[in-house]
Structures are given as structure tokens and as C-alpha cells.
Symmetry: C2
Subunit: 152 residues, 2 copies
């Protein structure tokens, strides 16, 4: 099992140049839990609120990070299958996404990953601005897969 | 009515720093029609295919651009209400998004925009790589709104 440090997850995000350019941050991490922050600065649209591309990146981080925390990064990896985004309000501050997998979901995911080589979860959460206003809702499906060199 | 030149739509995209950074291009434009290209270069994920944040930006451009072509930019503007993205295959080339509004839809949108100050359409389309492979599907809802200083 990997170490659950913010630095590790931040450095993994920054391996993707696109994520690094927009400044998304790993804010908090725990077993089955991830919280990310998207800065408003340099991610504004033409009217000064957060551009929806930045919200989409945050949604992906919010949905995938919690799954990343329960797997051995050397053997398994998450991919995003789908994202359903509803944009409710313009965001004029940094925006936050977090999701906690339940104990039951974690148990099912790990069991299926061992027995079938893959498993899937759906993360449904709100994205909030600094005042707690819901700026967007997210439903995303994430698949956990086994690395090819680990298939036995 | 505005002029339908690629340069105008490209410059509008580049007004949003986030879009400019990822290099999305207006490829083709017509009345009720828009086609956009997302370059793979500098938008790769950690395994060399296109990062889904770049696909999300392309989806937004593909869904909103066609609506932008039928309105007077000084009076009205489009906003994206929702996006439903299914990621089907990794993309190892540039990716393209295009959508054509039907004549009936255009007539309804313009009539509602005049009578109610707003109207809405749903754009449903595939995003293709250079070989024509469908890498993602998109269903997006766009609202056309009247600028506040134009409300009578």
C-alpha cells in the first residue's frame, strides 16, 4: 500500500502538464478520501468567473483521487469512464471538490479488483466555492484497472 | 448579425486564457455550425494519450460554438448548462468536435430568444480522432441569454 501524503498526490497531478498548467492542488488525502482545490487565478473566463474547463479538471481530480488512495499504484490505476457535470452558479473564488468512498464500497472495489482484475465506482458530489455555494454538481464513473504487466 | 469568420471565433476562444493555453482551434464555421480541434501536443496525460481535461474543453467548444454563430454577439451570449461525457477510447492524435444545429432548431431558438429573452438547445455529438475513431461522446445543454444591458 502506498503512503497517503499530499505531496505524492500533488506530484502525480503535476506529471500531467495540463493539470500543472491550471494549478489544481491536492488539499487533503485519506484512505478512500481526496479533496482538491482549483484556483480561480489564471482560470477565469471572459466574464471573470471560473472557466468550465477548469471545473471539469477539478471534477476529474475529485472523482479519481479517492480511488487512487485505496490501490497499490504499482499494480493498479484509475481511469475516468464518464462525467456528468451540471453548472449551477458562476464561481468567483477558488473551487473545491471532495469525495469519500464508503467502507462497503472500498471492500467491494478491492475484492473485485483481486478476483476480476477491475472494479468500478460512481462518485456523486457537489463542487463548492469558498463561501460554500454549490457551483456545480458531478456524477462520475471511475474504473480501477490492473496494469498489464501485473495481469497473471 | 456577426461575420462568420474563423479568426473571430478563434480570437474569442483566446480571450479565455485557459483555452489559449491548451491550444484549441476553431477549424471551420458556418451558420449554426462549428468545428473545433484540440491538439494532442502539450495535452497528453501520463500515458501519452489526450488528458480528459483537454477533451472536456473541446466538448464545450463543440457544443457552444454552433450556437454562437446564430446570435448577435452584442445582444446575446451562450452559456453551458451541463455536459455529459463518455470517454470510450484513448486518443493518440488531435481530436475534433463539430455540431450543426438544424434549421428547425435555429428558428425555434431565435424566436424564443426574441420573445422570452432566452432559449436552450441540446447538442449531442461524437468526438473523433484523426482516423475517425470515436474517442468520446458528448451531450451538452446550452442556454442562449440576453445581455443585461440589452433587456428592454
Amino acid at each position: 500500500m502506498q503512503e497517503l501524503s499530499i505531496e505524492i498526490f500533488q506530484s502525480r497531478m503535476e506529471n500531467i502538464e495540463f493539470m500543472k498548467r491550471c494549478g489544481v492542488r491536492a488539499e487533503s488525502v485519506g484512505y478512500g478520501f481526496g479533496k482538491s482545490r482549483m484556483p480561480l487565478a489564471s482560470n477565469e473566463n471572459h466574464v471573470g468567473s471560473m472557466y468550465l474547463g477548469a471545473l471539469s479538471v477539478l471534477a476529474e481530480a475529485g472523482a479519481a483521487m479517492c480511488g487512487s488512495t485505496i490501490i497499490d499504484d504499482q499494480r493498479h490505476f484509475p481511469i475516468v469512464r464518464s462525467m456528468h457535470l451540471n453548472f449551477l452558479k458562476p464561481a468567483y473564488t477558488d473551487v473545491f471538490a471532495e469525495y469519500q468512498l464508503s467502507d462497503d464500497t472500498i471492500a467491494r472495489l478491492l475484492a473485485q479488483l483481486e478476483s476480476e482484475g477491475r472494479s468500478e465506482y460512481t462518485a456523486e458530489f457537489d463542487m463548492l466555492d469558498e463561501s460554500g455555494l454549490i457551483v456545480a454538481t458531478v456524477i462520475s464513473t471511475i474504473t480501477l484497472l490492473t496494469r498489464r504487466d501485473q495481469v497473471t
